[in-house]
Point group: C2
Chain length 493, copies 2
């Protein structure tokens, strides 16, 4: 057996174990009775150790060296490259650091749940110091390996190929026009009258509506399911995607669009190249590209007027509100595009969201590169919230720098993906519109031309191309923030 | 670390992987979309190989030898004994034989699905010859190891400690009185008028009724769920038992009692000793004892008059049939205790079921011990069906020797467990009645005294005792078929 094939076998084996983990994780988050939790956690931890061992087994170094000298097709070369990239990321850190960070992260995250509620920065800061220090140590080791800056080496984990340099360009661009655009839009919307639909919207009817919309979006129910969980997510495996949502019986509006968002993630997974299943090169390109698909569904398709007209019509009929003015497509459109400055990222609308992300990016970049100390974070947070959204978080840690889970376990480098995703989505839409009459497709309720474009240009590529190549092949140019700006201006002004 | 502790660690690790397998198996059988099947099978096969490797790793032989010389408590000795017993069973066969049998079994079982439908003995017999030969080879190797006869060595896999000698005694006893008792009961019941409830019984109402009954039977929903599957079963893990059923909207009677049966299996699992979780000694004793618990629930509790009165009352109210005479407890009792001679084991009632099992036992015993050839089976089957139930299966393979899945993959030695379970259940009930007013407990709808007895005498024992010890400690004597006989006579005459 060639060394390349030995590697294939190893990664396919890993993928099979990860399959079992993904299903059991989904089960634990959605349907498992609470008494099953302890034994499940132990079983999943045991699996993680096993997958880690398979990912780091000593013979891999030799196999990679030898496979590199074997005769391989272009696709095999890309596959080898991805296997090696993942392997390097997994093996570059000493076990002791991985363990120390994992322990410090668990401790910090666990305590954070009550500390955040209690606005207890002093308590949090003590645990977090260790997480930050270990993350810096990690970033420095990765930097030595990659030849990049520490923070750029962390970015690599979530968004390979994206650097601080490129982020400065695109986020710098956004920072120039976003705060004033937000003010302008809020001023414009201040005259709008928005009516929140009132009443009880049963979970079963909401589910039925969600299933209708998933069918419209061509979610493949032969390879996936819709269920419920406290925190909606898209889990499972490409052959069996487990999408979850939650229902608030007093408000179906947010949950419905949440389902549209998760369906974007799901269709990307379902559309990954089948002949590369189980290999790193057959997986989704990056966090940012994954988010670009969910945001394409949620923001580009889901908040377009023709789509909202469909939502409005379906919701009217499902909830028997034919004459309810709050169900009109005009009102739905206002509900879904209302802009408001707020403290909380996860509650933010499309327009203010990038401000939350850029703030976090700038702070974590300087933190990981050692330019600021972790104790500087609250004041910097307050200052940037004032600059970007005109809000003060002075002494308000709960709604300030302690609001997100990401930093508690040291996932530095993750935040930029959200806004990169939004920008990619805008650029994909602009490119798609050159050949596809998107609004006509939505209005006709046959969205296939849209999905064919995404399947051909994004989903079927897996990780064969790097992000820059993928975006360039799909749109003719690398990431250009102008598309995002135009999209926002068109929608909100 | 002591060698005993090394062994503990290994078996707890195995148990964690088996946890993931159990949940993913349940998922595949109950809620997985069909398109997920291929990748799931591959993932589960990969897991099986891994579990097999952990169960057979070469260092275990040494660890077992050394652990045997360590100072251990009585419970630890029992635990070591069970680990070793399972290990021996797993390692005694050469890999080549395991693989050959697995392949031959899969091939035979797969073809059987259509061959049975087509009454194609000639086709079946060709594949089955190989399965029988490999099973004999397996039994001979196991016999050499255990010093027992080949068939007794196969019995050991399902019912450790039970031998042909003991089966001859108990099954021989049953054979003496069963055929005439069946005739007598059928004659007696010939005057009965039984009315099948008519109408549509919605799956959701049946589920609600099933949940009520599971609550009455104190199924712990903090450690388990009820779902649906084509073939009802009790899966999952002791901390999270996954019970399934199926609903026929034209007949709720059978499904309801099926839920009672599976709840018996479930409560045994939920009641296993928590401090021994993950170890062989903490698992259910045997197939026969497992079946004794499901049959205790189904036959001893479930078909008792006070329980049927509860079922009748709940069903009347659930389906709004207060005045429907077919819902009377008298009619329910007749429905649940009606006796009929039939060809098919899985459709058989409590009274005729043992005849089906004894027939299979006698045939498989002689087959594995080399006293008959596999080509002799149809004629023997026909002859015994005539003797025990007065039915001819001449040229009727579909409803004769080709009806069960068990032999297609070589699970010889399994069948006796069903009737042993029924007999243990009768004996447990007789013993329980010495200290518990069972009928009063059922009538009061507080069945705790019954469950406390089962928990103390059976569930909490795991595999600390062998079957004979377990039965003797619980009832004061080893298996005695007279209890089964009295139970059947009391109920049916």
């Amino acid at each position: 057996m060639s060394y390349y094939n030995k590697l294939l076998k190893n990664y396919q084996q890993i993928s099979r174990f990860e399959h079992l983990g993904a299903i059991c994780h989904w089960d634990a988050a959605s349907i498992m009775p609470s008494g099953g939790s302890e034994a499940r956690s132990e079983a999943l931890a045991e699996l993680s150790v096993h997958v880690h061992n398979l990912s780091c087994k000593p013979e891999l170094a030799d196999w990679f060296d030898k496979a590199q000298t074997e005769e391989l097709s272009i696709e095999e070369k890309a596959s080898l490259y991805e296997m090696r990239r993942v392997w390097k990321q997994n093996t570059v850190l000493p076990e002791s650091l991985v363990e120390a960070k994992s322990l410090a992260g668990s401790k910090c995250e666990h305590a954070w749940r009550s500390q955040r509620r209690d606005n207890d920065w002093k308590g949090f800061e003590k645990n977090w110091a260790e997480v930050v220090n270990l993350s810096i140590e990690e970033a420095q080791i990765r930097a030595e390996e990659t030849g990049k800056t520490p923070y750029d080496s962390m970015l690599e984990l979530y968004e390979p190929g994206v650097s601080t340099q490129s982020l400065e360009l695109v986020f710098g661009n956004v920072k120039n026009w976003l705060p004033s655009l937000i003010d302008e839009v809020i001023e414009k919307q201040s005259k709008d009258e928005i009516i929140k639909p009132q009443g009880k919207f049963s979970a079963s009817m909401q589910k039925s509506l969600g299933l209708d919309i998933m069918n419209l979006l061509k979610f493949d129910f032969n390879h996936g399911r819709l269920d419920e969980s406290v925190h909606p997510f898209c889990g499972g495996v490409p052959t069996d995607v487990r999408l979850t949502t939650r229902y608030d019986e007093s408000d179906f509006i947010q949950s419905l669009m949440g389902t549209v968002h998760e369906t974007g993630h799901a269709r990307y997974e379902q559309g990954l190249p089948k002949h590369l299943a189980g290999l790193p090169v057959g997986q989704a390109r990056s966090m940012g590209i994954h988010e670009s698909q969910s945001l394409f569904f949620e923001m580009q398709i889901g908040r377009s007027m023709p789509f909202i007209q469909i939502l409005s019509k379906k919701a009217r009929s499902k909830f028997k509100r034919e004459d309810d003015i709050s169900f009109s497509s005009e009102n739905f459109y206002k509900l879904y595009t209302s802009v408001e400055k707020g403290f909380i990222r996860v509650d933010a609308d499309e327009l203010t969201y990038p401000a939350h992300v850029i703030l976090r990016y700038e702070i974590e970049r300087d933190l990981i590169n050692g330019k600021i100390k972790h104790t500087d974070v609250p004041e910097l947070w307050n200052q940037k919230m004032q600059d970007y959204l005109g809000l003060s978080t002075s002494d308000n840690y709960t709604n300030g720098c302690m609001q997100d889970i990401h930093w508690t376990d040291g996932s530095f480098g993750y935040f930029p993906s959200y806004t990169l995703g939004a920008m990619y989505a805008s650029q994909f839409m602009a490119a798609m519109k050159k050949t596809v009459d998107v609004n006509a497709a939505i209005s006709s309720k046959d969205l296939s031309p849209i999905f064919t474009w995404l399947a051909n240009n994004i989903w079927s590529k897996g990780s064969l191309l790097n992000t820059n190549e993928l975006v360039k092949e799909a749109t003719g140019e690398t990431l250009n923030p102008e598309y995002f700006k135009s999209h926002l201006k068109n929608r909100y002004l």
